[in-house]
């Protein structure tokens, strides 16, 4: 293995802690947003519009005089709540579909997986947009659209794990012992699937945060007056010439959050294998994570 790759790996390992820190800060901000915002994120004050960094407004104000720091904190809440809702919904539905499809097999599996593959061949964001076009604008419509667009990947991964596990000797020997179908699925197949799914979900959380920001940027996701990074970004675009601060801050917040989730996912992937993994396996895992990531990051 080339030396630069090792260096990159150790670099990634060192980045593990910052990643956890970023995600933790995000979570704290999101959980206690109401108590942490110095101003109301929606309070307008046209007298102090477009101010730069100052003691009163640490990160300045936007064109309506709203406090940028407060809006960033409120935005982290909006983003993480939406991400959590979509990930949980898509995961639950996807895992159930994937498990049933993989365990039952036959024509059901064939039909389910063909449609899943078809949906996966179209970028998820386009699927989500089409769904919004059907459902109309609004917070819950966006959540529903993203959930539908995100179900196939969870179903696919779960089904893959289930199909790989169901014929493994440890499942077969339980079957021979007389374990019921419910026991096999609930205690052995689902946990195995969930372990892989959780690793994927943590990378996916970053991708979803990006997707939500992109939808809001297009004016099709989170609607004002709710604060969201993508929405802050598009609000500030007309003032790019003289106040780039207003686009750099939400952009950085988003980039850091996504990067945090990505690294968390990679770390989880390596924790998933407690045994010493060879360099080759690790490289393969990273490549897979990278590929998953790349296919979803193209927003």
């Amino acid at each position: 293995m080339p030396a630069w790759f090792d260096a990159a790996l150790s670099f990634a390992c060192r980045l593990g802690w910052p990643a956890i820190l970023v995600v933790a800060i995000d979570l704290v901000l999101a959980l206690f947003a109401q108590h942490l915002t110095p101003y109301s994120p929606t309070a307008q004050d046209l007298m102090s519009a477009n101010q730069t960094f100052s003691a009163a407004h640490l990160l300045g104000t936007d064109h309506l005089g709203r406090d940028t720091l407060s809006r960033l904190i409120a935005g982290s809440q909006t983003t993480l709540v939406a991400v959590a809702v979509v990930v949980v919904l898509a995961m639950l539905i996807g895992v159930v579909i994937g498990t049933i499809s993989g365990y039952v097999g036959g024509w059901l599996d064939e039909i389910v997986m063909r449609s899943v593959d078809f949906m996966l061949s179209v970028p998820s964001l386009i699927v989500a947009l089409a769904m919004i076009g059907i459902f109309g604008l609004g917070y819950w419509n966006m959540v529903a659209a993203l959930t539908i667009a995100w179900i196939p990947s969870y179903a696919r991964i779960t089904r893959g794990v289930v199909v790989a596990t169901v014929h493994q000797p440890h499942i077969e020997s339980l079957w021979v012992l007389g374990a019921s179908r419910t026991r096999l699925i609930a205690f052995h197949l689902l946990p195995a699937a969930l372990r892989s799914i959780l690793v994927y979900a943590s990378v996916d959380a970053g991708v979803l945060a990006l997707a939500i920001a992109t939808l809001s940027f297009l004016g099709l996701g989170i609607q004002p007056p709710m604060s969201e990074w993508g929405e802050m970004f598009v609000d500030a675009m007309p003032y790019l010439d003289f106040s780039p601060r207003q686009i750099v801050l939400p952009g950085l917040a988003l980039t850091l959050t996504v990067a945090g989730f990505n690294y968390l996912g990679e770390r989880l992937a390596s924790l998933d294998a407690p045994r010493a993994i060879s360099g080759r396996t690790l490289r393969k895992r990273l490549a897979t994570a990278q590929r998953l990531l790349v296919s979803r990051t193209m927003q």
Binding site: I126, A130, T214, L218, F233, G251, V294, T297, M298, Q299
Partner: protein, 312 residues
Amino acid sequence: MAQVALRRLLSALILVAVASVACFSIVAVFPGNVARVIAEMRSSTVSDEIVKQIEVQYGLKDPVPLRYLRWAGRAVRGDLGESLRTGQPVAKDLVRRAPLTVILILGGGAFTLVMGMGLAFLGALWSDSVIDRIIHVLSLIGASAPKFFIAALLVYLFGVVFRILPTYGFAGPASWILPCISIGIIPGSILSRVARVALAEEMSRQYVVTAISKGLPRRRILVHDALPNALPVTINAFAMHFAFMVQAALVIEPIFAWQGIAAYFVEAVRFRDYQVLQSCLLVFCVFFILVNLSVDLISMALDPKQSRQRLA
């Protein structure tokens, strides 16, 4: 070989048919009364009479398979219906807007390819140099940063700070540069990493060790042996990024105020203009299928082993 290619072509055609069904079914699953949505779009006062009239006019009461056949039949002849919002024929709008999106995607693809392959090759030429570091950092940023953020930074840098490139509108090649870089820079940085890893893998193989110990110069091995062998992986990665550029165009076109197909799609989503929505989706699906088809054919041509295996 020809037979395999033909079979691949046939399956692509079948996929197009499947895609058309999927795009059409968007209307079929449209919640609520489609006729009422159309009526509301035309005027603020909606009576049941007008709704009924629209139902008849659009044939909305006919069974779904019949409606699909009618729609598909027209689509094959180049008639994609009229936009519900503007009343303009969708096909005409698409043709008018196509050049912008095509230029954006082709230009972005070219930039991706040049940047990705260039960096990877330079990195392989002088391994462990500063270029490898750049590739690594770029791919880290590329995997996490939103496209619209990168695009806005580029606009600020070239349009506001240096004032050397137009940042707005579609007027001549100079105005194409920033959008194409904006759309191509993230996939380019990720591709550079993929290609670099593929090259590094090739260069660590036994045949390279043998060739070096025979006294062949590293550069020659890189160009003549490692590069062709690393190509299929790279091309597959590139194709994925290329196909996903449609998705990136959704944000890049609005930033530069380009009236392309992606912007048309976003508009259709906003106004729930399902005629435009399904037509755009169909165009996107055909594009994805075409990209996949050409990748398969290209990698088949590049890799004789693969085509032989498929024949067997």
